[in-house]
């Protein structure tokens, strides 16, 4: 019972200690507390993941894959906050920002394991409110504007979710637990159920930034401090995708016609994959390109969501791989910004980094390979398994679109690799002075790169079962 909530409590305690330390201007202590809370959360969830799945207090799911997802979320959060160390020590009220990051991770962990639709709503909202503030915290005109536009769209999505919840709960409820609502709905597919389905699916599609609900993502990830983009690109999407899988294929809406479920999410998947893969080709900004890549990756994940319960483990693996690679790629942007204060944020501006900074260069290469889905990286297993499930379920055309989109997206990931190693910096442009090494970020990028490679290679030696077993939701 206690172990089910322990990871969430650890994260929130870390955040509370961070806020308290920040009040006494102890910024270093604040960031340390936030990281410590997240690490403790990851460790506790890892311990809990060895247990059989259980429904605790009708509120959260814990054990096996559910706890494993929480462990992954907390671990990525800890790595990102560690990587933001330098940024947080310098930013105005950096301790508070560290606390916000830790709270958003706790909220993501709650969303991923919610077994009660009210808990899911509150967790998603807590995640979003932290995200608005983190995006705003760059305090440039662009980031303030991106934050307010993000807020307006996010608030509309919340409105849709709340109405969906009210209809579902009002007409069938009596209790907000998934198990209860599932029992009451049964196999009914009348207008109220389908309306609630559409409203909640739209709200969640917005949270994960699937096309056509993606427009906030492009501006937000381009303009937010890269350290916070690293957090917001992966962790909330991982949480929302797991929540979608539980909601749509395992609980409340599992009684709907599978074909209905399939076509809604398959069309979102195809649109996201096509839009993300082609739109990114036109981008010059590195972080905006990563935002497009995020839309494409969510498209691959939605392929699995469309197929349903059998795709749960592959999808969780795919989104984990994405969250890791996106965190590393955005943190790398933060490292470059610290070292080259004059960097205009373009992919071309990365010229020569690979040769000047070998460790950073190799780190970015690993992230890009994982996002492409190259073998020997975590991204390969995610795509391989998701497309494999699609083919064996008879939707080979969906896998074909996914593979084609991956090949097309090589265009923009490849552009980064070319800039890193083959382009030389413009000779005429003198390098701006005053650059500094961002060692904590570099350490975080290296750790993430090692994890990505370990997930990619270890299964080749010991077999894929260990990896799949870790994220099995049964």
């Amino acid at each position: 019972m206690l172990l089910a909530f322990a990871p969430h409590i650890a994260c929130v305690l870390g955040a509370a200690a961070a806020v308290a330390s920040d009040a006494f201007e102890q910024r270093r202590a604040a960031v340390t507390f936030a990281v410590a809370g997240l690490v403790a959360g990851a460790a506790l969830a890892f311990v809990a993941s060895a247990r059989a799945p259980e429904l605790t207090g009708d509120v959260v799911l814990s054990g096996s894959g559910f706890s494993a997802a929480v462990a992954v979320i907390c671990a990525i959060g800890a790595l990102v906050v560690l990587g933001s160390w330098r940024h947080l020590l310098r930013a105005e009220s950096g301790g508070g920002l560290a606390a916000l990051a830790a709270v958003s991770v706790a909220a993501a962990a709650s969303a991923a394991t919610a077994a009660d639709i009210l808990v899911l709503l509150i967790a998603l909202e807590a995640m979003a409110i932290c995200a608005y503030a983190l995006v705003w915290s760059a305090k440039t005109s662009a980031s303030v504007e991106a934050a307010v536009k993000y807020f307006v769209q996010g608030a509309i999505a919340t409105g849709l979710f709340v109405l969906g919840l009210a209809i579902l709960f009002g007409l069938y409820g009596g209790s907000t637990g998934y198990v209860w609502i599932r029992g009451v709905i049964g196999t009914e597919t009348g207008p109220p159920v389908t309306t609630a389905f559409v409203l909640i699916a739209a709200a969640l599609a917005y949270k994960i930034g699937a096309f056509p609900f993606h427009s906030w993502a492009l501006d937000v990830f381009e303009t937010a401090p890269p350290q916070f983009s690293a957090l917001l690109a992966g962790v909330p999407k991982l949480a929302a995708v797991v929540a979608m899988l539980i909601l749509f294929s395992r609980s409340i809406f599992a009684g709907l016609d599978p074909a209905y479920n399939f076509w809604v999410f398959a069309s979102l998947a195809v649109l996201s994959m096509v839009f993300g893969a082609t739109g990114g080709l036109l981008q010059r900004s590195y972080t905006r390109m990563l935002a497009y890549s995020g839309v494409a990756q969510i498209g691959y994940a939605l392929v699995g969501v469309a197929i349903g319960a059998v795709a749960m483990t592959p999808v969780a693996l795919l989104v984990t791989a994405y969250a890791l690679a996106a965190a590393g790629a955005f943190l790398a942007a933060g490292v470059v910004r610290a070292e080259r204060p004059g960097w205009d944020g373009t992919i071309g501006g990365l010229a020569g980094i690979g040769r000047e900074r070998p460790i950073l260069g190799v780190g970015v290469v690993v992230m890009m390979f994982s996002l492409i889905g190259m073998p020997l990286t975590a991204g390969f297993w995610g795509k391989f398994l998701v497309f494999g499930v699609a083919v064996s379920a008879g939707y080979w055309w969906l896998a074909l679109i996914g593979v084609t989109a991956s090949v097309v997206s090589f265009g923009y990931y490849g552009a980064v690799l070319r800039a890193l190693y083959f382009d030389s910096p413009f000779e005429s442009e003198p390098q701006a002075e005053g650059g500094e090494r961002d060692i904590p970020s570099l350490v975080a990028v290296t750790l993430i790169a090692l994890l990505v490679v370990a997930i990619g290679t270890v299964p080749l030696v010991v077999g894929l079962q260990g990896l799949l077993g870790f994220l099995t939701f049964a």
């Binding site: 705003w136 504007e145 307010v148 509309i156 409105g159 209790s175």
Partner: protein
């Protein structure tokens, strides 16, 4: 039934406002109407005595939670709007043109 018509009507009104108004304060108000209509649905259902489930008072509790949520959202929304007003000297969303979206 009439409850459903009223609340869905209110919700649509709020959503129409949120999508078409260009002033951030008006958008914020429209969003509050959207959330308020969902609360009204919950409260109305609770007053009508439906539905009956295992946990008594769950509908009312959910309604209170939605109100708290709306308040939290209004708080951060107003903070963002004030920040925009200070920086850009306007609260019209179409006059902000720093980002592409």
């Amino acid at each position: 039934m009439s409850l459903l018509v009223v609340t869905v009507g209110l919700f649509s009104l709020g959503m129409y406002g949120a999508l078409t108004r260009r002033d951030l304060v008006a958008i914020l108000a429209s969003i509050e109407v959207m959330l308020g209509s969902a609360t009204l649905l919950l409260v109305g259902l609770a007053a009508a005595g439906t539905p009956v489930g295992p946990s008594e008072g769950a509908v009312e509790a959910t309604g209170v939670m939605v109100i708290v949520l709306a308040a939290a959202e209004a708080a951060i929304g107003l903070a963002l709007v004030i920040s925009v007003a200070r920086r850009f000297k306007t609260t019209r969303i179409d006059e902000l043109a720093e980002v592409k979206g």
